[in-house]
């Protein structure tokens, strides 16, 4: 066994290794895990407060301790494999769990370590089924039995189902991303034909997906973070990886030690900026303007990647001057519109795991101008252009069949033109010389990578940041090259087939068989559904894996309008959340340390299993849905225990499981490295392939946004604009939230061991803004706008751009002196986004005023 990995200062760029071996970080070269304590005399030493520790991979557990495993399934999307220790039936310790084949990826953050304190605290947990006795929100409940709870719920639900199944809603979010927990409530909804919600919109992650889908055709796509060992420069743009995706941080550190300059672009000097070479502060909501300014400088200096743009993007595609649509030809003649089939998958792009689709079937109808023949011809693929048989014009005006056209690139160039260094600097709050230097460094790095983060897309017109920054990377020629890319991570899922084998890796057939189908509705419509019954009424609401009130915009509106409009609300949660307090029945859910689950994180399959007895009478989501199924006539779909489901999932003859041993890989290790060694690519879109847009190319010209004048990347002022207008004079400060070291959402709030880090929500404010308001460090301030307010302590720091104030996301009303941050946010529908898919909540597009309280 390779037990002897050292913590060498620099990492080796081993992209693809599968040795299936367990590794444990040791510091002694050439010495195994041999107990030498007695030789060193520790045995005679006075008892240390620390106790003996269970070892894995050989040494037997000591002191009645047992090694256990789990995957952290809260939604930071790292999904770290955790190695826990149980003593006397209690979890006492959490450490990074092994990642076979990728030892540098083992990680456990401070949240996952301290989580065991909170999840074993019966005062924090929902212990029993509870029925509301006081007013909604009063927190007055009585304990009832599971039988009574399920009977009461079934009676309400059956009445709604009899009238209109879609009037029953099952709202399952990201509190537990294990397959069983995450999907059980929506799977149940499908069984009875009820409504479920496409979650990304209201939670504020969907702008990234829209932006990515516009240009790449798929909503995720990232370079393996080890690829940054190949980068000379890395722009970490709106992403605080150090706190929000800590499993990747080691790779950023290794890249920097390898000579990669790291620049963080963020309104705040976030934790990641602490290890970077440079922090470039940017005004919130202005990231697309910076990307446009950089493109303008690069194109203006003739440094853009002309070959790549011509080969892999829609840059040379001809666009009609009359209506702005792509020019299309069939059999050599111009046609008004193509009649080809649309994309294969017209389903949700919000909830499905990242999947590589196929280019649209009408890809062959687009047109370029061939400079070799001086004629309009069907747009060729990248390979055909590379071999030189055709030379598409990047720029120019042409007349084809009497139709005047220009290239898409010329449209992009025009869109960039207003973004001079001066104007860009003025919009973004960055010195124009810094914009120029950044543009120069980026194009000269060869290669430079960009890691994008959702921090920049919680704005109105939220598709713009990812779309525009990705287009910058294409203009610079960095898409599909080692050390480059414009990456949006957040989960991996490999769907590459094994040659010659057609079956699935997992057996999800029974799990997918639900008889009926759920009615999937964009989550941007959930308030309207409750209040106006549009597009569906909500007479019965089942909330699972979600602190809906705390994490959705405009909480006063939820409490005053949305919740009163819903007749019956059930919340399933491990915690006494704000949402639970507004529910009629609260059911106790298990945490990921207490139930079976599967996490498909190729090349690994990872498993949760009960490491401790469920607290109180808590149950898994599958157990709960199974109980409800028995009372609602769909029990035939819920005929297995949690463990039986997992055993079925992994019981296929797929080569992935050739070496699989349930006892060893599930029970003892909790992680299995697939035998077929299918790994995600180190980079995406290599050789100009893999774009799954309608055109099959990198598509920065988006035809469907023509009605909104948004066909090429643009920057639009925010919904609540601090620059001008009545609102700006009343509320001049931009209020943003950030995910920090303390909390992903609300699950980890004040795990006791985290109190030393920070024990109350704080408002970050620049001293310039504070002094103008007579506010000193530590003062209690009121932050307000027309929707609500919060009372909170001020934290003065030079590490935030003037004009913006910020708090950590995830604190609950219990922790504010008064009010809550979510009182300040708003839910404003964006027409362009609704037309494309659905509105993304503009959580960071909020104006406030701050005053001494």
């Amino acid at each position: 066994m390779n037990e002897f990995e050292t913590n060498a200062v620099a990492h080796e760029p081993e992209y693809f290794t599968r040795d299936g071996k367990l590794t444990r970080r040791t510091f002694v070269k050439g010495v195994g895990a041999i107990t030498v304590a007695s030789a060193l005399g520790f045995g005679a030493q006075a008892a240390l407060p620390g106790t003996v520790h269970a070892s894995e991979g050989g040494a037997s557990a000591a002191g009645g301790e047992r090694a256990v495993h789990a995957v952290c399934t809260v939604n930071c999307t790292s999904r770290c494999h955790l190695h826990g220790t149980v003593r006397d039936g209690k979890l006492v310790r959490v450490e990074p769990g092994d990642m076979p084949g990728r030892p540098g990826y083992a990680n456990a953050c401070l949240r996952s370590m301290s989580y065991i304190q909170r999840l074993q605290d019966e005062n924090a947990r929902v212990m029993y089924p509870m029925r509301r006795t006081g007013e909604r929100g009063s927190g007055e409940f009585e304990r009832i039995t599971w039988d009574d709870a399920i009977d009461e719920i079934a009676e309400k639900l059956n009445a709604v189902l009899a009238k209109d199944p879609q009037a029953a809603s099952f709202y399952s979010f990201t509190g537990d991303l294990g397959k069983l927990s995450w999907e059980a409530p929506t799977r149940y909804a499908a069984c009875v034909g009820a409504t479920t919600w496409d979650i990304e919109g209201i939670m504020g992650d969907h702008g990234a997906s829209m932006g990515m889908t516009m240009v790449f055709g798929t909503h995720r796509g990232a370079h393996d973070s080890r690829d940054y060992l190949n980068s000379k420069l890395l722009l970490v743009w709106g992403r605080n990886v150090a706190d929000t995706h800590t499993s990747e941080l080691r790779d950023y550190v290794a890249a920097r030690k390898n000579g990669c300059k790291i620049i963080v672009i963020d309104p705040r000097q976030c934790s990641t900026a602490a290890m970077a070479d440079e922090w470039i502060p940017i005004r919130p909501q202005t990231d697309p303007a910076l990307a446009l300014g950089m493109m303008n400088w690069i194109i203006g200096n003739d440094l853009h990647a002309k070959d790549k743009l011509v080969e892999e993007s829609v840059a040379p595609y001809l666009v009609r001057e009359d209506d702005g649509a792509y020019l299309r030809m069939v059999d050599g003649s111009v046609v008004a519109t193509a009649t080809g089939a649309r994309k294969d998958d017209e389903g949700s792009i919000g909830t499905a795991p990242a999947a590589q689709g196929k280019a649209g079937a009408d890809a062959g109808t687009y047109v370029i101008w061939d400079e070799l023949t001086g004629a309009a011809v069907p747009a060729p693929d990248a390979a055909a252009i590379k071999v030189g048989g055709v030379r598409p014009a990047l720029s120019g005006s042409f007349t084809v069949d009497g139709v005047e056209c220009r290239t898409a690139f010329d449209h992009l160039k025009d869109a960039c033109a207003p973004y001079t260094l001066e104007r860009t600097g003025e919009i973004c709050g960055i010195d124009p010389s810094v914009v120029e230097r950044l543009s120069r460094e980026y194009i000269e790095a060869q290669p430079a990578g960009i890691r994008m983060g959702q921090g920049m897309q919680r704005v109105y017109h939220s598709y713009s940041p990812f779309r525009t920054v990705a287009t910058l990377a294409m203009v610079a020629g960095y898409i599909g090259v080692l050390g480059g890319g414009a990456s949006h991570a957040g989960g991996t899922a490999t769907t590459k087939p094994v040659a010659g084998y057609t079956g699935s890796v997992y057996d999800f057939d029974d799990w997918s068989n639900t008889g009926k189908k759920a009615n999937l509705v964009p989550s941007s419509k959930v308030y309207a559904a409750a209040v106006d019954h549009n597009p569906v009424p909500i007479d019965f609401l089942w909330i699972a894996n979600s602190n809906f009130v705390n994490m959705s915009p405009d909480s006063n509106r939820i409490i005053d309008e949305v919740i009163p409009a819903i007749d019956f609300i059930v919340t399933v949660d491990p915690w006494w959340t704000w949402t639970a307090k507004y529910s009629d029945i609260v059911l106790p859910a298990c945490t990921y340390w207490e139930h079976w689950d599967l996490i498909d994180r190729s090349p690994w399959a990872m498993f949760n299993q009960p490491a401790i007895e469920p607290m109180g009478e808590s149950k898994s989501d599958v157990e709960i849905m199974t109980l409800l199924a028995k009372k609602t006539g769909v029990e035939q779909y819920w005929d297995k225990t949690d463990e039986e489901w997992i055993r079925q999932f992994v019981s296929t003859d797929h080569p992935a499981w050739d070496d699989f041993d349930w006892e060893r890989d599930v029970v003892e290790r909790g992680i299995y490295s697939r035998s077929d060694g299918i790994f995600d690519s180190a980079i995406v879109y290599e050789d100009g392939t893999g774009y799954s847009t309608d055109t099959g190319k990198f598509e920065f010209y988006t035809e469907s946004l023509l009605p909104f004048g948004e066909e090429v990347p643009t920057w639009l002022p925010p919904c609540e604009d601090p620059r001008e207008g009545e609102l700006a004079s009343k509320y001049p400060l931009v209020y943003i939230q950030y995910h920090d070291r303390l909390n992903v959402h609300t699950q980890h709030i004040l795990n006791p061991a985290l109190e030393v880090v920070q024990d109350e929500p704080l408002l970050q404010i620049n001293p310039v803004d504070a002094e103008a308001r007579g506010i000193s460090h530590g003062d209690v301030v009121r932050v307000r706008n027309d929707r609500g307010s919060m009372k909170i302590r001020a934290f003065l720091t030079e590490g935030i751009i003037p004009g913006a104030v910020a708090t950590q996301s995830g604190w609950t009303p219990d922790h504010f002196i008064e009010g809550c941050y979510q009182n300040l946010t708003h839910h404003t529908i964006c027409d362009a986004e609704e037309a494309y898919s659905m509105t993304n909540t503009a959580f960071y597009d909020v104006l406030v005023e701050v005053e001494k309280a």
Binding site: A33, F42, A46, S55, M113, A242, A273, A274, M275, G799
Partner: protein, 188 residues
Amino acid sequence: MTERRYGMVIDTQHCVGCQTCTVSCKISNEVPGSAHWNHLESLDGEVLYQSTGTFPRTTLAFRPLLCNHCDNPACVNNCPSGAMHKDLATGIVSVNQDVCIACGYCSWVCPYGAPSMNDVDHVMSKCTFCAERVAEGVEPYCVAACPANARVFGDLNDPESDVRKLVQSGKAQAYLPEMGTHPSVYYV
């Protein structure tokens, strides 16, 4: 001179201030009450997490602190009961809690704020460099947990160790060497 001299090099250039070290030590060593064996300070300022300098030319940097397992430990030299002692085989400084009278002198004289009173059992407690793990050849909890790989642990007496090389190259410097305790923890 001890047989081994376990030491640590902490990379402040890559520390992101997350305090996974603080929390992993607290949880994994089951440090009771309000005691902490690791803590975090601003590298160049007064208030933790407050950037220094003036916008936009600011710095955000941290200094994680733990017992420096000094060669000339002030805590041992000033301990009236003899509870505080240095192990000759490893260089690890420990407190024998059976002997400790909880007078707190060690915490007053330590330049690094390392000894931390166990307010549950009313006895001094401190970082052990995870001696039992180290004896098995496994890194201390804080080292294994650091998501920035900012901690390097090893034997400063071993010419082949990474810690020794970092110290010998001059990249790693002791903190508060003027206190004369000859610490075994160094900072880059």
